[in-house]
């Protein structure tokens, strides 16, 4: 049943998404692909839309995916599920003990968990960039156009940072990518 799947899937995201929105994206991708809710392409579009709209990115993705699968009730359910674990954990910490997280045992577990999350985020990034250029690894076809666009976008991202010593806003990179996509497609 789709409602139960949305609830369970997004509770899993809510319980295990350490490291903010980017830490959550691999997990959301895994949940969405394993339930077969959306194709990989749509998911990438949705990440871009969530990134470019106001509000918490993880919440945006939950609302979107819930709505695409089961309308308004699905959107409400998925959003609640992704918010609830964080809400309850914070209530627990502020009402019981704020020292809880500072105990050496919790710190030791987090010390192992955090680098793992970073590794997963890196693997997802590498995987998505590769898929953008060669398509599915099962039947790779190198797209020169996609490779060139990826290089130009990387040059914009890192060139801006190198020149201004500031980070380029993700929304600006997405806007640049949209223009490049239109130029390449026309």
């Amino acid at each position: 049943m789709i409602y139960l799947e949305l609830l369970l899937g997004f509770l899993r995201v809510g319980c295990f998404s350490f490291g903010g929105a980017y830490g959550a994206i691999p997990l959301i991708r895994e949940v969405v692909l394993s339930y077969g809710w959306l194709p990989e392409e749509m998911l990438a579009y949705m990440i871009a839309v969530s990134e470019s709209s106001p509000g918490p990115i993880m919440v945006n993705m939950a609302t979107y995916i819930g709505s695409s699968q089961a309308g308004l009730p699905g959107a409400i359910l998925a959003t609640l599920a992704v918010v609830l674990p964080a809400f309850l954990i914070i209530l627990l910490i502020v009402s019981l003990s704020r020292r809880l997280l500072k105990t050496p045992y919790v710190q030791a577990v987090l010390g192992g968990l955090k680098p793992c999350v970073i590794g997963i985020v890196l693997a997802t990034g590498i995987d998505l960039v590769l898929r953008g250029v060669i398509g599915s690894p099962a039947a790779p076809v190198v797209s020169l156009k996609a490779a060139l666009l990826t290089l130009i976008l990387a040059a914009i991202l890192y060139g801006y940072r190198w020149l201004t010593k500031k980070k380029l806003s993700p929304i600006l990179l997405i806007a640049a990518a949209a223009l490049l996509g239109i130029a390449a497609g026309a």
Binding site: C15, F18, G19, G20, A21, P26, E30, A48, E51, S53, P54, G55, P56, I57, M58, V59, N60, T63, Y64, S67, A75, V82, V83, P85, A86, I90, L91, V94, L101, Y105, V106, A108, V109, L110, G112, K114, V117, I118, G119, V121, L122, A123, T124, G125, I126, D127, L128, V129, G132, A146, T150, L153, A154, L173, I174, A177, A178, G181, I182, A184
Partner: protein, 192 residues
């Protein structure tokens, strides 16, 4: 204005006007809740930032729940959290109704063809930034390398394996190494 209504409206405004997710929100929350309204102290804000980074879920939700509870108990926490979620819920729900039709327009489809490539780069870049801020010690580096390699293999060969299993294993490794190293006696085992 009653505090509960004020909490709801303040966080709804924060939810409506911050782009870029949780980290962008932290500075706005600090500006409003610490500097302007004095709802929480600067130290509490630092505290909540650390807590948010060590607990799962959206960072904005962590902050809203914390501030809401401080000022208005459980009901305050509910209203602040509801406030921060509501604007983007409405906006995204409306976008979701039209995106499929949008994608049928060739121009928009081409644009998203480019956007798809940018999303991969943004995720890769976020991972690299997280890596740069990580503690430069052997164990975290090893865990990072192995996790990355494992997930790449999972993606490449389309294995049926959840990253949650990997995260739980990494947490267990952290705990076991800590217990075996007896770092507890040195008090926390933080730093290099």
């Amino acid at each position: 204005m009653p505090i509960l209504l004020e909490l709801f409206l303040t966080f709804a405004k924060i939810g409506l006007f911050t782009f870029g997710g949780g980290y962008a929100m932290i500075s706005l929350i600090e500006d409003v809740c610490v500097d302007r309204r004095g709802w929480i102290t600067h130290d509490e804000m630092m505290d909540i930032t650390v807590i948010a980074e060590s607990t799962p879920g959206p960072i904005a939700i962590n902050c809203a729940t914390f501030v809401g509870y401080r000022r208005g108990g459980v009901l305050g926490a509910v209203l602040a959290t509801f406030g921060v979620v509501l604007p983007s819920f409405v906006i995204i729900f409306l976008i979701a109704q039209v995106l499929d039709n949008f994608l049928a327009i060739p121009l928009i489809a081409h644009a998203f063809g480019g956007i798809k490539l940018a999303v991969g780069l943004l995720i890769l870049d976020a991972g690299l930034n997280m890596m740069r801020k990580m503690k430069k010690k052997l164990l975290p580096r090893l865990i990072l390398l192995l996790s990355c390699a494992a997930m790449l293999a999972v993606n490449l060969f389309a294995w049926n394996f959840s990253s949650v299993t990997l995260m739980l294993a990494a947490g267990a490794v952290g705990l076991v190494c800590f217990l075996a190293g007896g770092e507890g006696r040195r008090g926390g085992g933080e730093g290099r």
